[in-house]
Amino acid sequence: MSDIQQTLRAYAERFTTRPRERAPLSAHLRELEAESIFIMREVAAEFERPVMLYSIGKDSAVMLHLALKAFYPSRPPFPLQHVDTTWKFKDMITYRDTLAEALGLELRVEINEEGVARGINPIGSGSNLHTQVMKTEALRNAMNKHRYDAAFGGARRDEEKSRAKERIFSFRDANHGWDPRNQRPELWRTFNTRMKPGESIRVFPLSNWTELDIWQYILEEDIPIVPLYLAAERPTVERNGQIFMLDDDRFPLEPGETARQRMIRFRTLGCYPLTAAVESSAATLEDIVMEMLTARTSERSGRLIDHDESGSMEKKKREGYF
C-alpha cells in the first residue's frame, strides 16, 4: 500500500472509530464551515435525489470533508459522482478509488463512451471540443441517467468573475442551462428549492471560501489531498511557455521538445494535458500556505480553458458546464 493510501485509510477512521483531537479552528474558518454544513443539510432535507459532484481536487476534498462532518454520525446521504474524461492524472484515480472505498461511500463514475469511441482527446481535438464532449456532455448524461435533482459542486465565487454573481443554489433548466439574468434572489439563508420535474439545482457550499481559506482549512483540519499538489521531481515538458507533466505516453513530444525532470506542483488539477504545473519547492502543506500568502498569480491561470477571453466561463456555464 502506498503512503497516500495509508493516509486515506487513517483519515476515514476519524469519522468512525477515532475522532481527532486538535486545536480549535480559526474563527473565520469555523464560520465558513458552519455555513457550508448548513447548506448541505438543507439539500439533504429538501431534495429527493441529491449527489455530490466530486472532482478529486482540493476543493472536492474540502467539500467531502464538510459533508462527513455535516451528517456525522450518519454518512452523507448521497453518492459521489465523478465525471471522468479519461485524461485525469493517474494519482487522482488512485486517490479517488482508495478514499471512496475507505469511507464506504458510493462512487459513480461517468465516462462519455461515445466521445471515447469518436477519439475525442484534449491534445488532438483541442481543449474546447474535449471539454464540451468529455466533461459538459458527460455531466449532462450523468444528471439525466440518475435523475439527480440537486448536485453539489465545489466552485467558489473568488475563482472567476461570472461565479461572483452566481447563487449558492443555482437553478438549471431542463437542459441544464444557466440563465445569469434570471437568477432567483437569495436572501438570508432561506433557499428556494422548488422546481418543476426535469429541472435541477446546482449547489455551491464553498461559494464564500477563497483559495487561501481552502488551503488553510486543509492544513488546520489535516485533510489528505492528491500528492500532485505538493512539489516533487516529475517528468515535464515546456510548451507555449507553460509546463506540462508527462503522466503517461499519450502526450507525444513535438519536434524540438525534450522531456525534463523539474521540481513542480499543481495549483489546480484537471486533465493532465490541459493543466499546467508551476515550478515550486513547496513540498508540504505549510509551504503551500506560505506560498499562497505571497502568491501573485490566480489559480485558474493554470487552466487553459478560461483563457480564450474573459467571459468565456460565463459562456461555458450557460451551456451547462459546472
Partner: protein, 631 residues
C-alpha cells in the same frame, strides 16, 4: 518566506490573524459615486488582485473602460458580460479579501431604484453597510433610500463614505456639512454606530492609508474601521432558537436533530421546548464530528440529542423553556416585492421560513412605503421593488420571532406557486392576537353526514373560459339535469355574486383575485353543506383557480375548461361586452386587454366551437359519474 516556520507556529499565526472572524458588509451608492472603484481599491490594496488579473484588467480597461488610460477598477467587479457592455451593475456580486486580522465578504449591489431587491438581497446577510456619497453632490434621495433599506433589513452599523473629496479641494467644511445633513435622517433610525469617513477611493486616501491632503481628519481609515468594528450582537442575552434542519438517524440507537443555532446558547442539561407542540425534553448531548460539546451558541452547526423520544421533525423550532417564539398563523410583516407580477392580496403563495414551508395569503395590505422617503401610502397591490406592510395568514401556524429581535427566525420568502420563483421577502413585525382566539369548533354533523342523506358526494364544478365561451349555458343545463335526477345543487355566477357579495369589487387584477377568493370560500361552504355547486366565472388566473382547488378535498374540485376561440366568442358576444371593449367603454376585459391563462390540466376540456351545449353538459355529467360524485 518564512519556510522554517513549523506547522504549529504557522497554524497559530493564522488562527490568531483570523481571530475576529468574518465581517460581511454591503456597499451602496449610485454608479457615479465610485462604489466599484472603492471595492477594487480595497482588493488592490490588500494585494488580492493577482498579476494575471491585472493584465486582463488592463486589456478590458482599454476595451470597455471609462477611466481613460488608467485602470478602471470597476471592471474587476462587473462580472457578467451584459453588465460590462452596458457599464452598469445589475446583480449582487460577492467579493472576498483578508487582512491580518479579519476576513471580509463584500456584497456589491446596484444603486438604481429598480434594483431595490438586489440591495435587499445583499443587505440580508450583511452586518454593516458602507453608503457612498459623492462629495460634490452631497446627500441625495437615493442615499436616504439605501439608508432606509439597510435599516429595514436589520443592519445596525453604517459607514458614510464621503467620496471624491479630491474634487472638493479636500474641504473639511464640505465634509461636515454632508455629515450633518445625513445625521438628520439617520439619527432617528435603529443604527448602533454611524461612522463618517472622508475619502478619495481613486487615490486610496483614507481607504487603506491616511490622507495627507486631509490631515484634519483624525478618525480611522475605512479599512482600519472595518478591521476593528464590533458587529456581533449580544448573543448571550438573546433567547435560544434552534430550527431543526434534518433528523439524524444513522441507526436505531441514535436519534439527533441537526441544525445551526440561530440565536442564544444552550448547554447539556438544559430544558428545551418544541415551539409549535409545546412538548418538552432535556438536552442530553451536543454532537459534532470533532467530539461532543458541553454547550453550543449562535452560528454553530451541531446535532442535538434529547433525553426522551418526542415528535420533532424538520421545520420545528426548538427553544428554551421560558423564552419561546410566537406560534401563529397570522402576523404582520414588511414585505419587499421582487417580481414583475404584482403582489395581490388574497392570492395564494408559498411562505418559506427556515425549514417551514406553507401556503399563505396576504389578508390585508395596510399600506406601502415610498422607497425614497419611507412615507406611508395607501395601496391595493405591490409592484416590483415596492415595500408594503401586510397582514398575512398561513395555512398552518408557524413559529417565529420579530425580525428586529432575531433575523433568522423573523424572516421569510414568498414563492410563486406556479413558476416557483422567489417573488417576495418578508420581515415579521408581530403576531396578530386574533389568530390565537379563533379556535376551530368541532361540529357533530360533518360534511360526510350531510352529503350522505343527499345520496351524493359534494363537489365544485368550476367552469372557466372566455366571456361568451358558453360557461353559464352549460352550467345551467348541468344543474337542470342534476336536479331532475334528484341531486342537490346550487349555482354561483357573476349575476348572483357581483350584485351582492362582491358589489364593492371592480375589474382590476387585484379585485379579480379578491372576487375569486370570496367565491371560493362561499363554494366551499356549499361543499361543506353536501351540495354540488356549479361556478361559472371567467377566472382568468391559474393561481386563483388553484387557490379554490386547494380549499376543498382533492377529488372535490372539478375544473371544466370551456374553450372557444376568441373570434368565436366575439362573434357570439351574448352580452354585447366585446363590442363595448372594442369601443373602449370597458377596460381590463379578458382576452382583449387583460390576459387569460388557460388551464394546463383541467379535469374536463370542452371545445364549444364544434360541440352543442347539450353534448357538453352530458360530458360534464359523465365526468361527475366517473369521479364518483353521484352516489
Amino acid at each position: 518566506m518564512r519556510l522554517e516556520e513549523t506547522r504549529e507556529q504557522l497554524v497559530e499565526r493564522l488562527t490568531r490573524s483570523g481571530d475576529k472572524g468574518v465581517l460581511r458588509f454591503i456597499t451602496c451608492g449610485s454608479v457615479d459615486d465610485g462604489k466599484s472603484t472603492l471595492i477594487g481599491r480595497l482588493l488592490y490594496d490588500s494585494k488580492l488582485i493577482f498579476e494575471d488579473q491585472i493584465s486582463t484588467l488592463e486589456k478590458d480597461s482599454r476595451k470597455h473602460g471609462t477611466a481613460g488610460e488608467e485602470i478602471d477598477f470597476a471592471l474587476l467587479l462587473d462580472g457578467l458580460e451584459a453588465e460590462r457592455e452596458q457599464g452598469i451593475t445589475i446583480d449582487v456580486a460577492y467579493r472576498f479579501f483578508n487582512t491580518e486580522t479579519r476576513k471580509f465578504v463584500v456584497a456589491d449591489t446596484p444603486g438604481h431604484e429598480q434594483y431595490t431587491r438586489n440591495m435587499a438581497t445583499g443587505a440580508s446577510t450583511a452586518d454593516l453597510a458602507v453608503i457612498l456619497v459623492d462629495a460634490r453632490k452631497g446627500v441625495l434621495v437615493q442615499t436616504l433610500r439605501h439608508t432606509y433599506i439597510a435599516n429595514m433589513m436589520g443592519i445596525r452599523h453604517v459607514v458614510l463614505a464621503v467620496n471624491k473629496m479630491d474634487l472638493v479641494d479636500h474641504s473639511r467644511a464640505r465634509f461636515h456639512e454632508i455629515v450633518a445633513e445625513y445625521l438628520k435622517t439617520a439619527d432617528g433610525l435603529n443604527f448602533e454606530t454611524i461612522t463618517a469617513i472622508p475619502m478619495s477611493a481613486r487615490y486610496g486616501d483614507n481607504v487603506s492609508h491616511t490622507s495627507e491632503a486631509m490631515d484634519w481628519y483624525t478618525g480611522p481609515t475605512l479599512l482600519a474601521h472595518l478591521e476593528t468594528v464590533e458587529t456581533a450582537r449580544d448573543e448571550a442575552s438573546q433567547p435560544f432558537r434552534f430550527p431543526v434542519q434534518w433528523v439524524n438517524r444513522p441507526n436505531l440507537d441514535f436519534r439527533g436533530f441537526s441544525g445551526t443555532v440561530a440565536s442564544g446558547q444552550i448547554a447539556v442539561g438544559d430544558e428545551i421546548v418544541v415551539a409549535a407542540a409545546g412538548t418538552r425534553a432535556v438536552l442530553q448531548r451536543i454532537v459534532t464530528a470533532d467530539g461532543d460539546q458541553e454547550a453550543a451558541r449562535a452560528g454553530q452547526a451541531v446535532t442535538l440529542v434529547l433525553d426522551r423520544e418526542i415528535d420533532i421533525s424538520r421545520g420545528d423550532v426548538l427553544s428554551g423553556a421560558d423564552d419561546r417564539p410566537q406560534v401563529s398563523s397570522q402576523f404582520a410583516a414588511e414585505v419587499l416585492w421582487m417580481h414583475t407580477d404584482e403582489m395581490l392580496p388574497g392570492r395564494s403563495y408559498l411562505l418559506k421560513a427556515g425549514g417551514q414551508t406553507t401556503p399563505v395569503s396576504v389578508t390585508t395590505l395596510k399600506h406601502k412605503l415610498d422607497v425614497n422617503t419611507f412615507d406611508k401610502e395607501p395601496a391595493r397591490k405591490l409592484e416590483l421593488n415596492e415595500i408594503g406592510v401586510c397582514n398575512l395568514s398561513t395555512s398552518r401556524p408557524i413559529a417565529f420571532d420579530a425580525y428586529k429581535d432575531i433575523r433568522e427566525t423573523g424572516s421569510f420568502i414568498l414563492i410563486d406557486r406556479y413558476t416557483n420563483l422567489t417573488v417576495g421577502a418578508g420581515m415579521i413585525e408581530f403576531g396578530l392576537r386574533r389568530a390565537t382566539n379563533v379556535h376551530t369548533h368541532a361540529m357533530d354533523v360533518t360534511k360526510t353526514r350531510r352529503a350522505e342523506i343527499k345520496h351524493q358526494k359534494p363537489a365544485i364544478l368550476w367552469f372557466t373560459g372566455l366571456s361568451g365561451a358558453g360557461k353559464s349555458t352549460i352550467a345551467n343545463l348541468v344543474e337542470r339535469k342534476l336536479t331532475e335526477a334528484g341531486h342537490h345543487t346550487y349555482s354561483l355566477d357573476g349575476d348572483n355574486v357581483r350584485h351582492g357579495l362582491n358589489k364593492d369589487l371592480g375589474f382590476t387584477d387585484a379585485d379579480r383575485v379578491e372576487n375569486i377568493r370570496r367565491i371560493g370560500e362561499v363554494a366551499r361552504l356549499f361543499v361543506d353543506a353536501g351540495m354540488i355547486v356549479t361556478c361559472s366565472f371567467i377566472s382568468p388566473f391559474r393561481s386563483e383557480r388553484r387557490m379554490v382547488r386547494e380549499l376543498v378535498g382533492e377529488d372535490e374540485f372539478i375544473e371544466v375548461f370551456v374553450d372557444a376561440p376568441l373570434e368565436v366568442c366575439i362573434a357570439r358576444d351574448p352580452k354585447g361586452l366585446y363590442k363595448k371593449a372594442q369601443a373602449g367603454e370597458i377596460k381590463n376585459f379578458t382576452g382583449f386587454d387583460s390576459p387569460y391563462e388557460a388551464p394546463e390540466s383541467p379535469e374536463l376540456h370542452v371545445r364549444t366551437a364544434d360541440l352543442s351545449a347539450e353534448d357538453a353538459a352530458e360530458q360534464v355529467i359523465e365526468e361527475l359519474k366517473k369521479a364518483g360524485r353521484l352516489g
